[in-house]
Symmetry: C2
Subunit: 408 residues, 2 copies
């Protein structure tokens, strides 16, 4: 029997406790040993639960219990999660976490600490909820040179954009609906400003390219400025707008990483990832494009990913898993202005607009239904964002909106 | 340095040799040790290759070389692959194979032999080419009770069906085009009769449900009888026809497994898996639906999956991986007539057809454009296939075609 502790009995933590109890028999078969929850850390009390006597408010009871070999951290947030996880690893306990904020900020340090102590630190649930994505990147794609990862990483904003695209809703109405359905929190900024997606692309890029990418280095733009006019203009270009987190390896070994509303063709498989679903595309030299798709959040999918990590740690109590990345370095992530982009631009249809647009070079005009009356839309050539900004400024065009375009 | 041998220098085997050479540095980093091809078994000679001196026509040179720790089998077919792989495992060498025929027929036996000798037997490339699917099922979904697996498992037939759906091609024209493009072999029967898809669903189901499923137990129907009329009738039901391999766990622990052209809604993500791509859906109690999508064949994707397995075996030279399933038992796979189905049925529009259809119970009529003139189409209630057959026979309807419908 392997004893585990769970820190945080919220949505995910209570799901982990539930899955471990409900599927105990098949889990024991798969892990090769029974797994039992010995302690649950939470400030609240749950006297009616069958495992009510497991609860403690005192972290020391967990970290000082030599029988607890694995600790699950589902508290969320950086503090005290970071300090607690660090102390658990120092105390010789392997850790599983679903906490994307923690991994995106401190993954390199905690992985190094786990390696030093011959322990495991796993966090499959931190990206894509229940979608298996970190292991496939780490193991199955081992023979590939992965050069790009891009994905729809936040279910809340994807739900909102889907409603804007399919039902013509405004941003405000879509947000109100998402809040009403419980998909968005009362303070929705982590979702709609792109911070949640940013943490996830940081984790994916760190693992895929081997060096830590810190959230502050990633240009992050949310969906708050997306209007119905933008949605219809994208449709006129046979495309949809999705909030895409993306990391592209540059020829010099540095990384271009962004989170931004992005125009993608309807022929892209990611364009069909709707509602609260997530989809993640991995591009490698040998494998081509591989897409992983599923429910990116939710109690049971996320809990099942956490439990799968726990099972894996039980199987590897004596042998470390290879999942690892190094610290980043200053300048590893290039300034976004230096990255090459292509934009879908909508401008006022003034008398001289056509001539000004032509002066930008080889643009594709967007002719389909949906471009608002009084506007013209076009897709720019591929160039650095700095050059594009300068060209648009110099053109004298009245730019109403500009959105990244990506071939995904 | 770990020495490997490759048996079979065809499309996949030569790809493996290429990837191991081309990405040698990053592979060594990921594996923790360098990997070198020491011997390649092939009856042909390749004097111009840089590694021409590795070739041998004599299997004994491989099996008797104590320095060779890992053998890659990419010969295909059951014989002599089965005998060779068995002898390699008996000689203490771990094996990686891409050979779906071998794994579908002998997986349980070879896994048991590998376990007995504390070796690894891995075969990620045998299903879905480069798409990571076996590991995610085995590891990441460990905390789930998986109850269904369904997928588009054969790229050749999916290419043909896509041409029939999108371009209105006939079956014959689509086959000719697939052959012209090199997607179908001159003898295409393994693809179009469903045998290839059958082997793959056997492997997926064996792994997911823990007991070997043998190809002969799986009801297998190819796409040779699919007509343009069927395609248009499915479109009228807002659906498409895909060749679906499917395994569904029954309440009594037995399995329903089929390969058949299947009508699936256009809202299913699998409906957007087009051309030579594969898509595999895994359904679990906690995780919900997860879909894996990518190129299901091709030299480099498949080779990259083989090399990923080789890397994994290098990392686990002393510790066995847990991938395993038991032998099957008689009666484990239920007769397909006992499984519950729903069918899209097209009948001649005779004077009394409407009354006869109504007598079948709660049917959904298919009213959309596309049902051929002179025909009526409807979707039956869900019932066992035996009961449905009997009901259709008793109805006196002139049945022109009947296709399985699945909610995927």
């Amino acid at each position: 029997m392997v004893y585990v502790a769970i820190m945080g009995h919220g949505v995910v933590g209570s799901g982990v406790a539930e899955v471990l109890r409900k599927n105990a028999e098949s889990i024991a078969r798969k892990a090769g040993e029974g797994i039992e929850v010995r302690r649950i850390l939470d400030l609240r009390e749950f006297p009616d639960l069958p495992y009510a006597d497991c609860f403690t408010k005192d972290f020391e009871e967990i970290v000082n219990d030599p029988d607890i070999r694995i600790v699950v951290e589902t508290m969320g947030g950086l503090n005290p999660a970071y300090a607690f996880v660090k102390r658990c690893l120092e105390a010789g306990k392997s850790v599983v976490t679903s906490n994307k904020e923690l991994v995106a900020a401190k993954g390199d340090e905690l992985l190094a600490l786990a390696r030093k102590n011959n322990l495991n630190f796993l966090f499959e649930a931190s990206v894509g909820g229940g979608i298996p994505i970190l292991r496939p990147i780490d193991q199955c794609l081992a023979a590939n040179e992965v050069y790009e990862i891009a994905g729809i990483l936040n279910g809340t904003t994807n739900f909102m954009l889907t409603r804007m695209i399919e039902d013509g809703m405004s941003f405000e109405d879509a947000l109100a609906l998402a809040q009403q359905l419980g998909y968005a929190e009362r303070d929705p900024s982590a979702d709609i400003e792109g911070h949640d997606a940013c943490r996830k692309i940081c984790i994916l890029a760190s693992l895929a390219f081997g060096k830590h990418v810190y959230p502050a280095e990633v240009y992050t733009e949310g969906i708050t400025k997306i209007t119905s006019e933008d949605v219809r203009t994208a449709a006129a270009a046979d495309s949809v707008i999705k909030l895409i987190g993306r990391a592209v390896l540059q020829e010099d070994g540095r990384l271009y990483a962004t989170v931004a509303p992005t125009v993608i063709s309807k022929s892209s498989l990611l364009s069909d990832v709707n509602d609260v679903f997530n989809g993640i595309m991995v591009r490698g030299d040998a494998i081509g494009d591989v897409v992983f798709y599923g429910r990116g959040a939710g109690k049971l999918p996320t809990a099942s990913a956490v439990v799968a990590d726990v099972i894996d740690e039980v199987k590897h109590l004596k042998a470390r898993k290879y999942l690892f990345w190094e610290g980043g370095y200053e300048g590893y992530v290039i300034p976004h202005e230096e990255g090459t982009v292509q934009m879908l631009v909508r401008v006022a249809d003034t008398a001289d607009a056509a001539a000004k647009i032509a002066a930008l070079g080889n643009v594709q005009m967007v002719e389909g239904d949906g471009v608002p009356a009084g506007d013209i839309a076009f897709i720019t050539p591929v160039m650095t964002e700095a050059a594009l900004d300068a060209a648009l400024l110099a053109s004298g065009l009245t730019v109403k909106s500009r959105l990244r375009v990506a071939q995904l």
